[in-house]
Symmetry: C2
Subunit: 219 residues, 2 copies
DNA sequence: AAGGCATCCCCCGTTTAGAGGGATTTTGAC
DNA sequence: GTCAAAATCCCTCTAAACGGGGGATGCCTT
């Protein structure tokens, strides 16, 4: 009723079927009652652990699963592929207190549709859920920042444009002769560039160069 | 000259200094008047092109720059590194009508702090700007989805767990002997695995395997 | 019992990698 | 216009890595 822009592609059944897996009962029941207070949502189940949910999830068949990262027993990130296998249509939104980059990227790799910090205010959580139902993705600002920084290149690279170009190809597993062919330059030129790259990065092998360059975001 | 107080310390002055580069005058003036109507924002400049903005941007010294992707003359994505060089503290939010993946990732690489589609409703744009000012990132749901899909692995990989593990290391430029050492297995075992990987992916070199595996999101 | 998986063992010839020493020509900034 | 940096190319050398071929062995799961 507030934002018509977020609700165009879901005419038949307005109810959004949500399940929640969260070990802290206070928080879990908080989500349940707050979502139940909204006529757009229907809570088909809430569980304190992945193990406890498995038997019931298939019957509940939720559109959205709110999944805590930090769980006793099976962790939320590990549960992701498992749940997606039995319920391929379910869209999973991870909930977390931490913004641990490792968890974030593991969750994204395993097919999470959203990643929200628990301090996100509640009306925004509802907005995010609706966006995910409509085929979008959901990310808290802090998560979005980390994801963006993951892409961000270092503009103060010690490498020249050409060197960067070559190292990127080295990092794609390409041989020196293949790189030479791609860039229309001589094999010897590629060798020279790689030599200079190694000196600048103070390494003496491909994988070390890749590692250093990735850590410094030169590539 | 008058609002130079906004340049360094954020807390004392609650005003968020915003500049806008957008060629469509209707849209641009729309943003200006809507943001000016909010006491949290101060518009220090609005320009129809990057070229037109360059002389004034340094004096305006905005906290936030709203930057259109599709511009006459220099494109928004190409302007990013240029602007960040002269104004390193400015946080740039890209505005776009399209959700072209190429633009998205180029913008992120070049250091955008946000990426919003123009159909984002206006109160949300303001929220997003505030989140960016507070050190977060901003992404529309459609953009977030694409970013997430970029990470997503294919769960139907033809490769076994071990093969995937090995190919990931191959894709990091590591030699067979290094991989063997890392996984505490024999060099011959690694060779066998790589042979099997090549057969499964129907390739016969490292870089082809990496390419095919990346395209299929097996790694 | 069968099949996939992971592990290990040889053979072979070819290519590449890395390190050392150079030279030349564009290019860009001042 | 000058000067340095960047990009291009050249040569030799050894050791290592690569790709392809043929196998074998246990270990699970079905």
């Amino acid at each position: 009723m507030m934002y018509s822009a977020t609700s165009h592609t879901r005419p038949p059944d307005p109810l959004i079927n949500v399940c929640i897996i969260e070990d802290d009962e206070i928080i879990r029941k908080g989500y349940v009652s707050l979502l139940q207070a909204d006529p757009d949502f229907f809570i088909s189940g809430d569980y304190p652990s992945v193990e406890a949910s498995l038997k019931h999830l298939e019957a509940a068949c939720p559109d959205i699963l709110l999944l805590d990262i930090q769980l006793p027993g099976m962790k939320g990130v590990d549960a992701l592929p498992l749940i997606k296998k039995t319920l391929p249509q379910v869209r999973i939104i991870m909930l977390t207190v931490h913004e641990n980059p490792e968890f974030i990227f593991t969750a994204l790799k395993n097919g999470a549709s959203g990643y929200l910090t628990k301090n996100t205010n509640f009306s925004k959580i509802k907005d995010h859920i609706k966006e995910v139902v409509n085929g979008g993705g959901a990310m808290s600002a802090g998560i979005a920042l980390q994801v963006m920084q993951h892409f961000q290149k270092n503009l103060n690279t010690p490498l020249t444009k050409r060197e960067t170009e070559i190292l990127e190809r080295v990092a794609d597993g390409k041989s020196r002769s293949k790189i030479a062919a791609e860039l229309f330059i001589d094999l010897e030129t590629v060798k020279s560039h790689i030599k200079n790259i190694y000196h600048k990065l103070d390494v003496n092998s491909r994988d070390e160069a890749i590692k250093v360059a990735r850590e410094g975001r030169y590539i």
